[in-house]
Symmetry: C2
Subunit: 430 residues, 2 copies
């Protein structure tokens, strides 16, 4: 009977797959970079309402989450940050509940001329959909929705409550997912179809963002010797940070999940800006850094060391010594999270269920992977005692040019998700 | 009689000095950074018209100047670039003609919180006027005007034609002064009261601006090893440019005017911008450089070497090798100019006249100075066979914070200018 159900679910996914690709394309066309997610969220809300989900749509209130563990500092308010959740209430309450989470925000496209086609005009070619956010992670949002659709097409609904979450802020803070926790959303497990090649993510890194502000007294370049170049003053600080990165990656600091990786922790100089006028010695520079930490590494200790490294390097510098840099945090304060360390029966049983569903969809064993990024999984795993399974389609060039997601991979993940839901939550007739 | 005239002119400058300070303050309050000079130019035009000068006010047309020697490349059009010239036509044509030139454009103020008081709300304290552009060079524009006023107050006018020029674009191209040449303005000498401490500028450097564009294929920082950081790729190029700067300053390359200066040629990394997102490996970076050249050094040869240095450094770099930088010129293509090399009788006589006027105003000999910046003097000296005297008041922190000009210095320069005009042009009764 399980086999029959699985076959029917897979057939239902196949039957609606053209629709699913169209949905993915429509969703990817919304340029939902941070601050601009409204139209994409409206599209998600309409889609959920049309399918009969109970709709919850709210603006994130910093005051409601800023005291919670896992909160990341933000600059400015959240006037434009809206979460959307569609809820299926099980009639029978016979099974376990589930959160199907995905983020709607995408990272900026960068220079348009480096794309082969416009980033927000998705196109399908040779089995891949191209477009910013198609992989990271709108294909996952589509998979969540169409997996549930497959159950409905079979005349079934999950036997436990299911919460379909479309959150903002995953790419910079995670405060969107945190706001769902704060609003009371809880379940027996969470599934997040981030694009990691149909692998199960068993560990993810933590991430800290910081911004370094340099100031100095500039002058006409004719007297460059007496002015201090704030842009060039950044270079020794960046060098010192890379030395810290090297130390943190040393074999003796690696937890088991990352023991095999020589360089799991990447420090990224992601942005820089400085100076106003070519013939003025620049008075200011600001640079933005992303640094990763291992699961178990303390954010506070990491910040202390980062600050120490920057200030020590600054004190070594003639100009900076008298004008020490200011370090500002306004983004990720994300701890690492390792599902592999969750020995609870709930976690083991969720992993087993996903393993089975994956094998049924693909004919292959579920590969486990420790990733070098972060995801919203940490909120469920660390702060809500909820095993969070990160498992999604294969994508390439995420955060890069010509980002793309493999459509057959999305199909397989959708099938696996439908079978996982049926197994985890059980089913009831509509 | 000359002594009497000088005394009368000095008294007239003193009598109107409060008015002059008020005028300088009003002019400095106009935030005439590039593209925003209109209100300051309108103020200059009104001031000139009220005094009875024949007014000429026109928008720079790139097509009219782009073929001329001394033209600097610009990006965009000149819709907002307006020059103002007020002309005094001598009734008697008994003396020599003169251009009194000054630039109305000022450089950006930089971060406002680094100013003790707002840069465009000038204030006077302890004999200095503070404000962006007060020194560079609105005090000079005031000096030009009020020197002529002093003659008028004595019932006199210059005995030759005098052209009072208020030009734009001095701080980035010099195309404002060039447009005055192209429009036919010519005279026997030019005076430009740039703020060089009442010294006579005998040599000035050339300046080249260039912009370096770096591009690469970025990716999620989780895979930083496979992405190329466009910001960090800039660092070795900047290092190589500083090595070039060092070579160009070597003793054997210095012309006589600069033989005593170890580091006359400054390379300034004036601006940088790169990256879109802290957790994306940056795909692009752009930096802006100002490099000086000696008088006599060829711009074309300098550009060739700059390009060679950048491309050689890029070919040494794993990432840049496959994505060579693009070098864009969009600002100064300024040759050096040495008044000291002008042995013409006209130049010698102009310098002698200024020397005398300066001694009469200050009681001290006129100091000669080779400066490490450029000024619009090159257009008159190199392309119009007109000796250009750069001689203006003492200012501090030009292009810096709390830029200020010494008011007593402006007073002395105004007196010297009035006496120089009377000597050079002769006088006629109004």
């Amino acid at each position: 009977m399980q086999d029959d159900l699985n076959t029917n679910l897979c057939n239902a996914v196949d039957a609606a797959f053209d629709q699913q690709v169209q949905f993915l394309s429509d969703l990817t066309a919304h340029p939902s970079i941070r601050g601009n997610e409204q139209s994409a969220q409206a599209f998600m809300a309409t889609t959920l309402s049309e399918r009969g989900y109970e709709l919850d749509r709210w603006q994130i209130d910093v005051a409601e989450i800023s005291h919670l563990p896992g909160f990341s500092p933000v600059i400015g308010d959240y006037e434009d940050a809206v979460n959307v959740v569609g809820t299926h209430r099980s009639r029978t309450q016979s099974g376990r509940s589930l959160i199907l989470n995905g983020h709607i925000d995408v990272v900026p496209a960068g220079p348009l001329d480096m794309w082969d086609s416009p980033p927000f005009e998705p196109r399908v070619e040779d089995g891949w959909l191209y477009g910013r956010g198609g992989g990271d992670m709108k294909a996952g949002l589509a998979s969540n929705l169409f997996a549930l659709d497959a159950l409905a097409a079979c005349g079934l609904a999950p036997g436990g409550d299911v919460f379909v979450q479309s959150v903002v802020e995953e790419e910079c803070t995670g405060n969107g997912a945190l706001a769902c926790l704060a609003r009371g959303y809880a379940a027996d497990a969470a599934l997040i179809p981030e694009p990691f090649s149909e692998h199960l993510v068993t560990a993810q890194l933590g991430v800290i963002w910081f911004q370094v502000h340099l100031r100095g007294r500039p002058t006409h370049v004719a007297y460059a010797g007496s002015g201090a170049n704030a842009i060039e003053a950044a270079f020794p600080l960046i060098r010192a940070l890379h030395e810290m990165e090297h130390r943190w990656n040393a074999a003796e600091h690696r937890p088991a999940d990352y023991a095999h990786m020589d360089h799991a922790l990447n420090l990224n100089l992601g942005k820089i800006e400085g100076g106003d006028w070519t013939s003025s010695v620049p008075a200011w520079a600001v640079f933005d850094v992303r640094m990763a930490i291992f699961p178990g590494q303390s954010i506070e200790a990491a910040k202390t060391e980062i600050e120490q490294v920057i200030l020590d390097a600054a004190r070594d510098n003639d100009f900076l010594r008298n004008s020490l840099p200011e370090i500002v945090y306004h983004g990720f304060h994300a701890e690492g999270y390792a599902l592999s360390q969750d020995s609870s029966a709930k976690a083991q049983s969720a992993i087993a269920a996903l393993d089975q569903a994956h094998q049924a969809a693909t004919g292959e064993a579920l590969v486990r992977e420790a990733i070098t990024a972060t995801t919203d999984a940490r909120f469920f795993g660390l702060y809500a005692d909820t095993p969070a399974l990160v498992y999604g389609p294969r994508a390439e060039a995420i955060h890069g040019f010509n980002e793309r997601v493999e459509l057959e991979s999305m199909r397989r993940v959708t099938k696996a998700t439908a079978m996982f839901i049926a197994d985890w939550c059980g089913v009831e007739t509509i």
